[in-house]
């Protein structure tokens, strides 16, 4: 096996020509031969270059319509690039989505065999690996059930089990981790790790930043067909959230700042885990500490410290203030530096949270001395997503009569 990069994309551009009228007919062409066939040009990829080394788990992120799926389809050889070259070293898995080619009217048994052949296995190889596939999907009892009677979770498990059986050196995957229960997601994660240890290269397209931060070695942010940034997945996830919330306008990682911050200013804010280490990501259920560092330029009595956590949708999820909690903050001289810590159990739902700390003078209705929006980010990851904004520890009792 050669040691060069697995995927080399050089200056690739792709433009779609979208006719204004989608379906034309021969009749129209015959009756109106001179009517201009107007097309809208959509530049889906603009001069994209990227090199992905062998064995890397690479994420491609971007908003809807950013061109990330187009890039994946060009990589897969489904679309033809207009300019530039794409070279893939090694065998490429042919699917970009799970369950492609599944037929709902056939049984799981038939579908697995057909799908394995679509993937490039021979009939014999497909039969040999059949048991392994079914065991991985944990569907031994449902082999002869037609696929239309499968739940969506079972469907995905089966699809994932077959897809990872392909003897591909390079796997291209478009949005997969959204479905399946927590235990199966864990299994998928382990399967990814196994594939990676075996030297496979995986390219994942998603807008799930949790998946990017959890799985990827490196990621790329794409916007309007252009590569904005390539690098560490945490930085990419953060940059993605920024463009998603429109903060890229002032091109600063920090949000807006209010107050004149002459009397006192917030110099830093961060999150800590139970051991006091600074973290940008934390598992759900772990103790969490939110820290704010303030430097005083004037002497102040009983200043008020506050903070708000907002989730990806911009909703305030958690908020607290020293005055509401009846905490006495004391007196500070000019030049003093203090750190406030708020401790709580992290029962936030998986999402990325932005911390907005503030300080104000004592007294009702006073203006903020300093308020810094989105000064720190925390990604909370968990094994399941309830859909709520926080997941309180709870018990469920069933009282049958």
């Amino acid at each position: 096996m050669s040691t060069g990069p697995a995927i080399t994309v050089a200056e690739v551009s792709k433009t779609f020509r979208l006719p204004r009228q989608r379906y034309s007919t021969l009749k129209e062409r015959a009756l109106h031969p001179l009517r201009s066939r107007a097309v809208d040009e959509l530049r889906a990829l603009d001069d994209v270059s990227i090199t992905i080394p062998r064995g890397e788990f690479f994420g491609i992120v971007g908003r809807n319509g950013s061109g990330k799926s187009t890039l994946l389809k060009c990589l897969a050889g489904i679309y033809d690039a207009d300019h530039g070259t794409i070279a893939v070293d090694g065998k490429l898995s042919p699917f970009i989505e799970l369950g492609v080619g599944f037929n709902l009217d056939l049984t799981a048994r038939d579908n697995v065999l057909i799908n394995a052949i679509l993937l490039g296995l021979s009939r014999r190889e497909a039969r040999e690996r059949f048991d392994e596939i079914i065991a991985f999907a944990e569907l031994e009892e449902f082999l002869d059930l037609k696929l239309k009677n499968y739940s969506s979770g079972m469907h995905v498990r089966l699809a994932f089990a077959v897809a990872t059986q392909a003897d591909a050196d390079v796997l291209l995957i478009d949005e997969v981790l959204a479905v399946g229960d927590a235990a199966f997601q864990q299994k998928c994660f382990e399967q990814f790790r196994t594939l990676r240890e075996a030297g496979r290269t995986i390219v994942l397209v998603t807008h799930d930043m949790q998946a990017v931060e959890r799985f990827c070695d490196r990621a790329m942010l794409i916007e309007r067909g252009r590569v904005l940034e390539v690098g560490d997945p945490h930085a990419i996830a953060r940059a993605y959230n920024e463009i998603n919330f429109g903060h890229l306008a002032h091109n600063s990682p920090d949000g807006a700042r209010y107050g004149d911050h002459t009397a006192a200013e917030i110099t830093a804010a961060w999150f800590e885990d139970a051991a006091g280490e600074r973290v940008e990501a934390l598992a759900q259920g772990e103790p969490l500490r939110i820290a704010i560092e303030v430097r005083f330029h004037e002497a102040l009595d009983e200043p008020i410290f506050g903070l708000t956590l907002r989730n990806q949708d911009g909703h305030s999820i958690f908020s607290t203030r020293t005055d509401y909690r009846g905490v006495s903050t004391g007196r500070y001289e000019a030049g003093a530096v203090m750190t406030m810590r708020v401790s709580l159990d992290n029962w936030l739902a998986p999402s990325t949270y932005r911390l907005t700390p503030s300080i104000a003078r004592a007294g009702a209705g006073s203006d903020a001395l300093d308020l810094r929006e989105d000064l720190a980010w925390l990604t909370v990851h968990g094994t399941g997503n309830s859909g709520g904004v926080f997941d309180a520890p709870h018990e469920i009792e069933i009282d049958r009569r």
């Binding site: 007919t25 009749k27 897969a76 489904i78 033809d80 492609v100 056939l106 679509l118």
Partner: protein, 272 residues
């Protein structure tokens, strides 16, 4: 290191064939799935139509009286034409029907129209079993001439594949290709010797009539399979050399289809 781009045939003949076969077989199996009488139903259409035609043309219009084994001939020619009609008809919509595969999977594009022709061929094989039984029951016994069925059906398959390759990408652009082709198939049905035989065509037109590849194929089929006393296609067209014209038309349709499909293949997924 391979350069990426949509493939027409691909670089792996084994995979190309495995895909074509698997897709064709799946489609074919689905017809029989969920109905115990699956095979009977596939026979119902040609045989019911045949029954009507037979009664009309032997009892009412009395065309069939002078033709030996008229019933067997009508059944054979109808089944062969139905193969052509089914292969081209399903090839037209094949790319659109397989949109999900085409947009989400990398595989040689030509597999799609080819597999529809192959499915139609499997159906033909199943129907022919019943037709053979009918022929034997009617006193037409197999001989070496029946082997000519293989190249004859092969020619129809080449014509159907060429037509399919031409129409399938065209249908993505122009949705009225399908109704147009339906009408064309109807015309072709009456322009081919199915309900009647080629020798009944007025002599002045006979040569031109036989330029229709299906007319030549069915006329030869009549000689080889149904009635050895009937003239061969070469006799009807007026000399073996003239047969090069229907053959050339078949080859032309196939090459035109291949050329157009090859040209359109890289953009099929994005135009869907």
């Amino acid at each position: 290191m391979s350069r990426q781009g949509p493939q027409l045939i691909g670089d792996d003949a084994r995979r190309f064939w495995a895909l074509t076969w698997t897709l064709a077989l799946t489609d074919w199996k689905l017809r029989f799935y969920g109905s115990a009488l699956g095979y009977v139903w596939t026979l119902a259409r040609p045989f019911a139509f045949f029954g009507v035609i037979y009664v009309v043309f032997t009892e009412i219009a009395k065309i069939g009286d002078d033709i030996p084994n008229y019933g067997v001939y009508v059944l054979f020619s109808m089944v062969v034409f139905q193969f052509f009609g089914e292969a081209t008809g399903s090839a037209v919509t094949s790319l659109v029907a397989r949109e999900n595969l085409l947009r989400k999977m990398r595989f040689p594009r030509l597999v799609i129209p080819l597999s529809t022709v192959l499915t139609a061929m499997m159906n033909l094989g199943m129907t022919l079993i019943a037709v053979f039984l009918f022929a034997i029951g009617s006193g037409v016994y197999p001989d070496w001439g029946w082997l000519e069925l293989i190249p004859l059906i092969g020619l129809v398959a080449v014509l159907a594949t060429g037509t399919g390759m031409l129409l399938a990408p065209l249908y993505i652009r122009y949705r009225d290709v399908q109704p147009v082709w339906d009408v064309a198939t109807q015309i072709l049905f009456y322009a081919s010797p199915i309900l009647y035989v080629a020798t009944m065509v007025p002599e002045d037109y006979q040569k031109a009539y036989m330029f229709n590849p299906l007319a030549s194929v069915l006329t030869q089929l009549r000689h080889a399979v149904v009635d050895p006393a009937a003239p061969t296609a070469a006799t009807v067209i007026g000399g073996g050399a003239w047969l090069l014209i229907p053959l050339a038309i078949t080859a032309f349709v196939f090459l035109l289809g291949s050329w157009y499909f090859t040209r359109e293949a890289p953009r099929i997924a994005e135009n869907l």
